[in-house]
Amino acid sequence: MASLELGQDIADPLRIDAPYEADAPLNKHRRRFRWGRGAILIITAAYFVVPFYAGMEYSLQRPTGGFSLTPLSQIGSAPGFVSALWLSTQLAVITMLVVMALMVPTVIYVHLRLPRFRRVMEVITIFPIIIPPIAYSVGVLEAAPQWLRNSQYLLAIVYVILAMPYVYRSLDSGLGALDVKTLVEASRSLGSSWLMTIWRVLVPNLRAALMSASVLTLALVFGEFTIANVDNWQTIPVWIYLAPTDNPRINTLVAMIALLATAVVLILIVSLDRSQSRNSRRSR
C-alpha cells in the first residue's frame, strides 16, 4: 500500500554536514539586537519610573527636608476620600459584571459560529476609543431615561461601553489560544449543555483573559475623569483633582498608589497569561 512505501531520499544531505562557523554572523547579530533591546527597555522604564519617583518624592517629602510616611496615614481621613473610593469600587464591580456578562457569550459565539465576523467585531469594538468622552457624556445623558439620569448606574453603563475594546481584545486573544470548537464539541458529546460547557470548560480556560479584562476595566473606571466630572460624580480621579484637602501631597500620593497597584496587577496578569498560553499550546 502507498503508505508503506519506503526508499525516500534524504532531501538535503548537505545540511547534516553544514559547517559550524555558519552560526557566527547570526550570534553577532543577536548580540547587537540585545543591546538595542536593552536600551529601549531602559528608556521605556525611565519614562514610567521618573515621573513616579517624582510624584512619590513630592508626596512623602517633609517641608523641612527628609522623607516621612505620615501622608500615608492621612489618606483615610481626607475629606471625601472614602465616599469616592466606595463609588469607584461600586462602579468598577458593576461595570465588570455587566461587560463580562455581555462580552463572554458574544465573543464565544463569534469564535464558534461567526469566525468571519471577527474582523468586523474588532472594528466595532474600537469605536468607544475613537469617540471623544465628552460626546458620550452629553449623548448618553440625553438618551437616558429620566429615572436613570441621576443614578450612578448611568455612569456604569457608559463605562461598560468604554471597557468594551479592552475586554473584547482580552477575550478574543484568550479564546484564540484555545481550540474552542473541539473543546465545545467534546463537552457536548459528553452530555454537557451549552451553559455548562461555557461555565465548566471555557471560562476556566479563559481565567487569564478574564483577569486581564477585569483589571483593564478596573483601571479604566479608577482612571476615567472626564465623564465622571461632567456628570458631577466624585469618583477617585475626580477626587484627586478636585478634593478640598489642605494637603495636595495626599492627592498625589493616592494617584501614585493607584498607579503602582495597577502596574503590579498588570505584571501578575502578564505572567499568568504567559503561563496559560504555554500550557494551552502544549496541550493542543
Binding site: M1, A2, S3, L4, E5, L6, G7, L178, D179, T182, L183, E185, A186, S187, R188, S189, L190, G191, S192, S193, M196, R200, V201, P204, N205, R207, R278, N279, S280, R282, S283, R284
Partner: protein, 367 residues
C-alpha cells in the same frame, strides 16, 4: 512509549455499554451552501462492528461522522441508532463518545477529572466518578497518570485519556475522528492496536474516520470507501483490496498500475496474455479501456533484450517495489527483495501478468 495494559485480560474496568447499538444512515444528504458534502449516503452498521470511513479529503467522511454525532443536521434522510430516529436529537443527548483529531482534553482538568467529566454531568457521586476514572485510565495504560494535566502528557497519552473519557459515559456508539493522525508512526501503531483491542473487548459499535488506508485496513471489520459524498464500496479489507467494486476503489485502495487494453468479448489482452474481465460485463463498455493491476499481479524476469526497463526501485522490507516502463505504461511491480538484488535502475526485464481476472475502466484523460 510502551503500552503496559494487557487489554486481552478482563480487569475491573468493565465498561460494557450493553454491547453496541446498530446504526443506520438512511439516504442522508448534507449540503453546505452549493456544496453537497453527503449525497444520499446510506450505510448499515452492525452492533459491535468497527467500520472505517475512508476516502480522500472532501469526500464527506468527516461530515458523515459529524451528522452521526449530532454536530450537523442532515438536510434529508435519517440517522437511526437502535432503530430510533436520532436525526434531530441534539449532540448532548445522543450518548455517543467521541475522540477528536486534535487533542481535545480540557486543559483546566487533570486526566482523572477529564475522564470523570461526563459522569459528573450525569450526576454520579464523586467516589463513583473517581473509581471509574481510575479503572478506565488503567484500561488505557495510564493508571499512574491520574493527576497529570494535558500539558504534562505526550500526544499519545492525551489521546488515550480522550479514549478513556469517551468510554466513561458508556456510549452506544464510539466515534473516532482521525484520532491517530497527529501522532508519530510508532505511537500511532501502538495506539491503533490498543483501540482495536478495547473495541473488540467492549463490543462497542465504532465508526472510525481516516484518510490512512493502512489504518483503515488493519483496524476495521469493514471499510467504507467514500468519494464526493457517495459511498463507493463497503466491504471487508481483503475484499476491498482484491475485488474493488469501482475503478475509484481500485485506484484509491492500495497501489495499482493502468495498462491500455481493448475489450474482446469477456476478456482483455494484457501484456500478451488473455485475462478475464472482473465484475458485471454489462457495465463494461466496448472498445479501448484500461486495466488496473496490483503490484503483485506481475512476474518479472531479468532479460537483457526484454521490453521493460526498470526506472525506479524502492526497498520495502520483504519486498522491493520496481517502477518499470513498458510499451508506454509505467508499471509498479513488487518482487521479493532477494530476487531484486540483481535488478538495478536501467536493467532490462520481461514482465508478464499472473492475475486471473482484472478490473477495467474507461481510459483516464491524459494530464
Amino acid at each position: 512509549m510502551t503500552l503496559v495494559t494487557d487489554t486481552s485480560t478482563p480487569s475491573s474496568a468493565e465498561v460494557r455499554p450493553d454491547s453496541g447499538a446498530p446504526v443506520v444512515f438512511d439516504n442522508v444528504t448534507r449540503r453546505f451552501g452549493t456544496t453537497t458534502a453527503l449525497d444520499r449516503f446510506s450505510l448499515d452498521i452492525a452492533p459491535g462492528e468497527l467500520i472505517a470511513l475512508l476516502g480522500p479529503s472532501g469526500c464527506g467522511k468527516t461530515t458523515a461522522l459529524r451528522v452521526l454525532a449530532g454536530f450537523e443536521r442532515p438536510d434529508n434522510g435519517r440517522i437511526l441508532v437502535d432503530d430510533k430516529d436520532v436525526s434531530t436529537v441534539p449532540a448532548q443527548h445522543r450518548n455517543m463518545g467521541m475522540v477528536f483529531q486534535s487533542y481535545s482534553l480540557f486543559p483546566n482538568m487533570n486526566a482523572s477529572d477529564n475522564v470523570a467529566f461526563g459522569l459528573q454531568i450525569r450526576h454520579q457521586r464523586s467516589s463513583q466518578r473517581r473509581a471509574k476514572a481510575g479503572e478506565l485510565l488503567d484500561l488505557v495504560g495510564l493508571a499512574d497518570q491520574l493527576a497529570k494535566y494535558p500539558h504534562q502528557m505526550s500526544g499519545g497519552q492525551q489521546q488515550r485519556v480522550a479514549l478513556a473519557r469517551a468510554l466513561a459515559i458508556e456510549p452506544r456508539v464510539l466515534l473516532l475522528d482521525e484520532p491517530l493522525s497527529a501522532l508519530d508512526a510508532k505511537v500511532r501503531a501502538e495506539l491503533r492496536d490498543q483501540i482495536r483491542a478495547i473495541q473488540q473487548r467492549l463490543e462497542i459499535t465504532t465508526v472510525f474516520v481516516t484518510h490512512d488506508q493502512e489504518e483503515a485496513m488493519s483496524m476495521a471489520d469493514r471499510v467504507c470507501v467514500m468519494s464526493r459524498g457517495h459511498l463507493e464500496q463497503v466491504a471487508t479489507p481483503s475484499v476491498l483490496y482484491s475485488q474493488p467494486a469501482t475503478p475509484f476503489v481500485g485506484q484509491f485502495v492500495g497501489v495499482s498500475s493502468r495498462i491500455a487494453v481493448t475489450r474482446q468479448s469477456d476478456h482483455v489482452e494484457v501484456l500478451g496474455r488473455q485475462v478475464k474481465i472482473r465484475g458485471d460485463l454489462s457495465q463494461v463498455p466496448a472498445g479501448d479501456l484500461e486495466a488496473l493491476l496490483r503490484p503483485e499481479d506481475f512476474d518479472v524476469i531479468v532479460n537483457p533484450v526484454g521490453l521493460g526497463i526498470v526506472n525506479h526501485r524502492s526497498f520495502l522490507g520483504a519486498t522491493t517495489r520496481l517502477g518499470i516502463g513498458i510499451g508506454g505504461a509505467n508499471l509498479r511491480v513488487d518482487v521479493r527483495s532477494s530476487q531484486a538484488e540483481n535488478i538495478d535502475v536501467g536493467t532490462r526485464v520481461d514482465v508478464s501478468v499472473n492475475a486471473r481476472d482484472v478490473l477495467v475502466t474507461t481510459p483516464q484523460p491524459s494530464k
